[in-house]
């Protein structure tokens, strides 16, 4: 006799990651699947938690700078910049014209660097592997430029409290100019491979839609927010480093899907090239180090002739800089969104608290909103389009 059992529609629980090529690091997603449909998606983070915010407590401010490179490792100079702006806010320290323009140039070069990785890996995740090689070809040139400038390819620590670590060589500026001149053609090349590619479009258009209200309530920032039709770019809304004097557009798309996020980032590549070129053209002369001796040590040649310089030099290298007591948060627009360091100082040489407002942290939290109800294969496109860097999520 056959026993009739009611057919139960079972869901399947599956782990995606932490070691998965499409999770951009070590993001783990606990998925509940009904066939190919994602019923629920739970991001689990912490696999890259190295206690950077704790480590800051035992470091001087200058030592701490090297940690910021390692948070969002695709945007090292952007992190340096946000950290330095917060410290300079506490000091109320003026930085020189050349350092300001130089910082804009470096921030935009780093944005190009980061978006190149995005375009490459987004293609790679969806099966278009050749575009990855082309993007890394240009990224390699940028890394060479960074190495020439600072001695390091990625962890440059080049933007320092009070200005820049050293001045630009004229030949370096010329090499950057040559790189920027060829870049628009290269972007055309990537676009010819992806933007109108029917397979790429099918995987991206209408997939992983994020509503603007949700994005705002979840703190999603950067290209992911602008792809929902909200023109929120700190370079435009709350300009820093004189961004209001540069001619560029805040790129906005309106569909809120993966394809919009891709389009926003590709268009930002072109805008960054525009800004960097303007910065090169207007690069003023002078020094890149602030005259405020409480923030930056005096030049080497003064040490032999000025007692005061010698004392400043000694104090800075034995105790580090000492920002006045207080709290400061000065955010910048990183390639991934609003990035700022909340620094609390008690007036000593070591910070009481350094907290990074990491854009990816909020962006990853919103992944379930885009993934649930979609297909597993679409989840790959969603993660790729959010461009997460786990180093800054887990810190």
């Amino acid at each position: 006799m056959a026993i009739e059992t009611p057919r139960i529609r079972d869901t399947l629980h599956i782990n995606m990651g932490p070691q998965h090529p499409s999770t951009h690091g070590v993001l783990r997603l606990e998925l509940e699947l009904d066939g190919e449909i994602v019923v629920s998606c739970k991001p689990i983070i912490g696999y890259l938690h190295t206690g950077i915010e704790k480590t800051f407590e035992a470091k001087t401010y200058l030592h701490g700078l090297t940690l910021t490179d390692r948070m969002d490792y695709l945007n090292p100079m952007g992190n340096n910049l946000a950290y330095c702006l917060s410290i300079e806010k506490l000091f109320e320290c003026e930085i020189t014209e050349r350092a300001t323009v130089g910082r804009v140039l470096l921030a935009e070069l780093t944005r190009i660097n980061s978006h190149l990785v995005f375009v490459g890996t987004a293609g790679l995740d969806l099966g278009a592997s050749s575009v990855f090689l082309y993007c890394l070809r240009e990224r390699e040139k940028l890394q060479d430029l960074f190495e020439w400038l600072s001695g390091q390819r990625m962890m440059t620590s080049f933007i320092r409290p009070g200005g820049l670590a050293s001045d630009f060589e004229p030949a370096w500026l010329l090499a950057v100019g040559a790189f920027l001149d060829e870049m628009p053609n290269r972007v055309d090349e990537y676009e010819s491979l992806l933007t109108n590619n029917p397979l790429f479009k099918e995987r991206m258009i209408g997939v992983g839609v994020l509503k603007a209200d949700d994005a705002i309530a979840y703190g999603v920032t950067g290209p992911a927010l602008r792809a929902c039709g909200i023109p929120q770019d700190l370079r435009k809304t709350n300009p820093y480093l004189g961004y209001e004097t540069y001619d560029f557009d805040a790129i906005v798309a309106d569909a809120g899907d993966c394809y919009s996020r891709y389009k926003v980032r590709v268009a930002e590549l072109r805008e960054s090239v525009k800004i960097a070129k303007q910065a090169l053209q207007r690069m003023p002369g002078g020094t890149v180090r602030t005259a405020n001796r409480k923030v930056m040590p005096p030049p080497r040649e003064e040490l032999g002739t000025s007692m005061e310089s010698l004392i400043h030099h000694f104090k800075l290298f034995t105790e580090g800089i000492r920002p006045p007591a207080g709290e400061a948060y000065v955010p910048v627009e990183s390639p991934r969104g609003e990035l700022g360091f909340y620094i609390v100082s008690d007036g000593s040489g070591k910070p009481v608290r350094v907290h990074e407002r990491a854009p990816t942290f909020a962006n990853v939290q919103a992944i379930p909103l885009m993934a649930e109800g979609g297909l597993v294969a679409d989840l790959i496109a969603v993660i790729a389009s959010m461009d997460p860097v786990m180093g800054e999520v887990d810190r």
């Binding site: 912490g46 938690h49 480590t55 917060s86 703190g219």
Partner: protein
């Protein structure tokens, strides 16, 4: 970033008002006023965008922990810092007002040991689930835990919860 201190003070008379060193206005409220104040900021004052939340542990000061929430007004294009203080007692959760606060409150619970009442999932975020202690507290030592090698497992056995794993 100009600060119309009047309108904030008028709208929220129960709070302590001030401006931080970075020019961002702050308001300090008691924990029991927190949820209502956040709701007012969102609904009446247009601070609709969730930005950030964290805690600061000042060991010698009473109360010890200061929680600070950051909101952003899309209309006025400026930030607002909301503060509340606790000595380790639970604080009401604001996830019902800002869903984005979910992970931020879990992070503060994980690293500072402050519990949020009414949070849908008050579990650790960064550290392993069986970890003992809250690393970002000022009295939690740096380098206080043993490195977990196979050879030292069960031999040293004094780490901050490491011996519980595995």
């Amino acid at each position: 970033m100009t600060v119309p201190a009047v309108s904030l003070a008028e709208a929220l008379p129960h709070a302590v008002h001030g401006v931080s060193q970075d020019g961002i206005p702050y308001i300090l409220v008691r924990p029991d006023q927190l949820v209502e104040t956040v709701r007012q900021c969102r609904d009446d004052l247009d601070y609709i965008r969730w930005i950030d939340m964290t805690a600061v542990d000042e060991l010698e000061v009473q109360p010890r922990f200061e929680l600070q929430y950051m909101l952003y007004s899309m209309v006025d294009r400026r930030w607002l810092r909301l503060k509340t203080q606790t000595d380790g007692e639970p604080v009401p959760s604001i996830v019902s007002v800002f869903p984005g606060a979910n992970w931020y409150e879990r992070e503060v619970f994980d690293l500072f040991g402050i519990t949020f009442e009414g949070h849908p999932n008050m579990t650790r975020l960064m550290m392993p689930d069986d970890w003992v202690g809250h690393p970002l507290r000022r009295d939690y030592p740096i380098g206080g835990e043993d490195v977990d090698f196979t050879v030292t497992r069960g031999v040293l056995g004094t780490g901050g919860g490491n011996e519980l794993r595995g």
